[in-house]
Structures are given as structure tokens and as C-alpha cells.
């Protein structure tokens, strides 16, 4: 992890794209403006962070902007990790896709779309990956009910059948 000063230096380099930095438990996070994500990631790649370890989504319900997309970058030469985070509101959840520059983002962006509803512009094949194609709703949003079925045990079967009548 770049230390706190290193993080500030990176922030200065990236300029306006960075909204904020967080240095928590020795881990560095850059909070980036959504339109500038591709440029920011390219600049970080030039810095050495050439491996994208993970791309995942978070739901900050009920704070707005609600949907977050997190990019975990790794510098294999210096064994350094940095996190890039962006947040989009749920009424306009669109982010530019980084699949062209980082091929690993293909399936992972589809998963974020499936689970949170964040639309990645420019993604070659944005469709649901884990849920059935015709599923409605985005399950991992915090206001989506967890679901589940009541479990009918054999000894209670009579009670359930009665209740259904």
C-alpha cells in the first residue's frame, strides 16, 4: 500500500478526477469522479498498478450517491495495492466501462450490473450473468428483500394445507 504521503502525491498527480482520499488501516483509497474513471485508471497503470485484482459494487443505501463501484489495483513489482472508488446515484447509474483497457473487467462489470443495476457504457456484452436473463430487480441492493421460502416439514404439512384452504 502506498503510505499516506504517497497517496497524496498520487492524488495531486491525478488532479481533478480525484474527489477524496481515504487512508484506513494502511490501505489507500482514491475516490474518483465517475466521468474520469478511465483516465484515472490509465494514469495509475502508468504508475505501475497494472493488474486489476477486483471490480465490485457496493450499495451505500440510504446515502446518495448510492451505488459504488470499487476497482482494486495491484502493482506486482512493488507489491502495492490501491483502491479506486466511485459512486453513482441510483437514478442515473451509468459509468464508462473499462473493459477495453482491462479485459478482466468483462465478467465483473456484468456482475455489478446484474446485482446492482449499474450500467456500464461501452461494455461489449452487458447482460445478466448470475441471475436468469429475464429476472427483474437487482438482488444485492440493500432494499431488495432477502427472499426465501417457508420450509414445509412433513409433520406440519397438514397445517399448511389447511392454511392454504
Amino acid at each position: 500500500m502506498p503510505d499516506a504521503t504517497g497517496l497524496e502525491l498520487i492524488r495531486q498527480e491525478l488532479g481533478d478526477a480525484v474527489l477524496d482520499t481515504v487512508f484506513f488501516r494502511d490501505r489507500a483509497t482514491l475516490i474518483v469522479d465517475p466521468p474520469g474513471i478511465r483516465g484515472a485508471l490509465e494514469q495509475l497503470r502508468a504508475h505501475g498498478y497494472s493488474f486489476m485484482a477486483s471490480l465490485h459494487g457496493v450499495d451505500y443505501y440510504p446515502e446518495e450517491p448510492r451505488l459504488g463501484v470499487i476497482y482494486e489495483l495491484l502493482d506486482m513489482r512493488r507489491v502495492d495495492r490501491i483502491t479506486v472508488k466511485l459512486r453513482v446515484p441510483s437514478d442515473a447509474p451509468s459509468v464508462e466501462s473499462v473493459t477495453e483497457d482491462w479485459p478482466t473487467a468483462n465478467h465483473q462489470e456484468r456482475e455489478v450490473y446484474d446485482m446492482f443495476g449499474v450500467v456500464f457504457d461501452g461494455h461489449p456484452d452487458l447482460r445478466r450473468i448470475l441471475m436468469p436473463e429475464d429476472y427483474e430487480g437487482h438482488p444485492q441492493r440493500r432494499d431488495f428483500p432477502i427472499g426465501g421460502e417457508p420450509v414445509i416439514f412433513t409433520r406440519d404439512e397438514a397445517k399448511w394445507l389447511e392454511a392454504r384452504q
Binding site: 485484482a53 457496493v58 478482466t104 465483473q108 448470475l130 441471475m131 444485492q140
Partner: protein, 401 residues
Amino acid sequence: MSAVETPIDGSETTDELLTLNFGPHHPATHGVLRLLVTLQAEVVRDIKPIIGYVHTGIEKTAEDKSYWKVIPIVERMDYLAYYFNAMAYIGAVETLVGVEVPKRAQYLRVIHLELNRIASHLIWLGTSALDLGAVSIFLYCLREREMILDLFECSSGARMHTRYFQVGGVIEDIPASFAPKLREFLAIMPKRADEYGAILNSNEIVLARLRGTCPLDAETLLGLGVTGPLLRAAGNPWDLRKAAPYSSYDDFEFKIPVGTVGDNYDRFAVRLAEIYESVRIIEQALDGLPEGPHITEDRKVALPPRHELATSMEALIHHFKLVTEGFRVPPGEVYNAIESPRGELGCYVRSDGSSKPARVHMRDPSFVNLQALAPMSRGSYIADMIATTAMLDPILGGIDR
């Protein structure tokens, strides 16, 4: 054995493309993986994997449970590397809470993790050999795996999904019978691995199917986010146990097997060699196992030992609070990555200050590695694609979560 580009009689190819569905139920798909394979005669032109057939909503369920209750939920993700799932999640929570893990617990964790690595590689070897046609290897591997599961049962009571790792250490110290049993196993395992190597490496069919098929260079793999034995087979020696050691891995001496060409044979050889290295690590951990507590002394995070409950009021209160509500974690977000048998297993935990996590995301290596299947198999035959899927070691529980 390179890709077939032109038909044998040199004519212009007018073959139409056929899309074949390797449905979710297929003996060679290592779980419920569905592949839409675009074929030109018998040559694979494109593969589209369709997943989600065992999507369990693990991450969503984890938001509903207190932190220690999430451990069994998350264990069931990558169902061959259950200790690793638990370790990644627990590492993230320990970072958030800021709790120290005692040395003995770290060594015990390493022992169990490496045993799990061997067990996972054994199933991989057995099922891959089954795909290639060598049926008896499957039974031999299960024989060794039974020994490992016996060890797990000895230390924690369950064969799979043991809940042995807890936040702050391990749930219980190992019994007295564990060490001798483990030494027996460690004496046998390298010889058995030699047997597997001897059988498979001198088998013409296995060699013909694996050597030179579906290579992919390290650069493309890195772009695709692939880590683990697949990346090491292509020549890049990236291993989180060496690069960013966690849980006392830097106390042990072991080598990282690295391949040269990056074809299926290298992937196979790298995993087989990793079994020997894991045995070495376990030996060193067992020899150097320090005395001490097996879980952190911080009673706000770990359950107090049972004998204290009879005498100490605070212990009783701590026990009650931990079991009913669970411990609270200060707000923050952390991503913690470890080296699982398939690659980088990461866990992202976001906590909002309550006793339940606000978001748990497992970055599963198989999910990301699956993207490499298409570039690897383009231009090869169907049979090579089957071998590649086997060498990719996909675990659908991890892919679908």
C-alpha cells in the same frame, strides 16, 4: 498439435459455424457450467460461458448475519477451498477490528490451509484425470483425500465446511492425536504424489492431450486478471504467500513451481509440484508449532473459554453478547487477498458500525479465471477444450457464489 487453420485438402473453407451447447449437465464441465461453443467442424472458434446455475446469494445472505455467523455462509462458496474462503473473510474482519492473531493460531491456520490446498489439488487431479480418461487416478486421489478429511475431522469435528477458523484465531486447539496422524500423512503424501506423477507422466495419451495444447502467454493472462497456478504455469511466479505474506507464511521455506510454456501440461505439472511444496510447509509448521493461546485473548471478539464462565461475571456477559448480538466492527471498508489453490481469493468487507456486515464481496479466482477459457481454447479441438476446462480448475460454487 497447434491450431488447425486450413482444411486438409487446401480448399477454401465453407464450413458453417455450429453453436453447440455444453449444457449445465455434462460430465466434463466440473460443475454446472454451461458453455456455448461455436464450432467450425471440430475446431473451436469461440466459447461463451454461461454461469449462474448455482448462484446462491451468498453475499446477500451474509449481510443478514452477524460477523461470526457469516463464516459458515462464506465457507460454502468455493466448496473445495473452504478454509481459504474463511481465511480471506476473517482476515478482512480482523483488519477492520484491529485484533491480533496469536502465533500458534497462525501456524495452525497455515497447517489447515495447506492441507486444504492439497485436498483441493487432489480433487482437481482426480476429476481432470477422469476427463482425460484415466479413471483409476480418481479413486487414488480420493484415498488420500479421505486421510486429509480425517485430519480435519480430528481437529474440528467436520470433514468439510468446518468453521474451524474464527475471528482472532481458531475455534479450538488441536487434540493430541492430530500431530501423529498428520506426520503419518506427511510421510505418505509425497510418495503418493510420486505415484500419480509416474502414472500420468508416462502415459502417452495424457501427454499428447496436455503437451502443447491451448497455451496462453502471461501478458494476456495478466490482462484477464488470472492468478494462481494458471499464471505460474505461464512463467510469472506471482504468489501471494511469498509476495505479501499473511499468517506467518514468511516463517516457512518453500518454493514456487513455475512453468515455461503455459500450456495444459505446465498447468498440470505446476499443481502437482505444489502438492510437494505444501507438504514441506506443513512439516515446517508442525515442527515449529509454538505454544500459546489458540485464539485472541480479546474477549470482545472471541468467546471466553468455558471454564471461565463458571467464575467470572465479565466472561459470562461477553459470552452472552457475542453469541446473541455478535461483536461490533468499527465502520470502514477493507479488501483482503490470500492465495487460494485457484489464485487470488479476495474478500471485501464493508462495515457500518453494527454487528452485521454491510457488504461482503468475495473476489473468487475461478470467476475471473473463467474469462481465460475462451482465449485459451480458440483454434483448438473440442477434446483440447475439455482438457483446458479441466486444467483451468473452475469451481462453480466460487464462480456463481
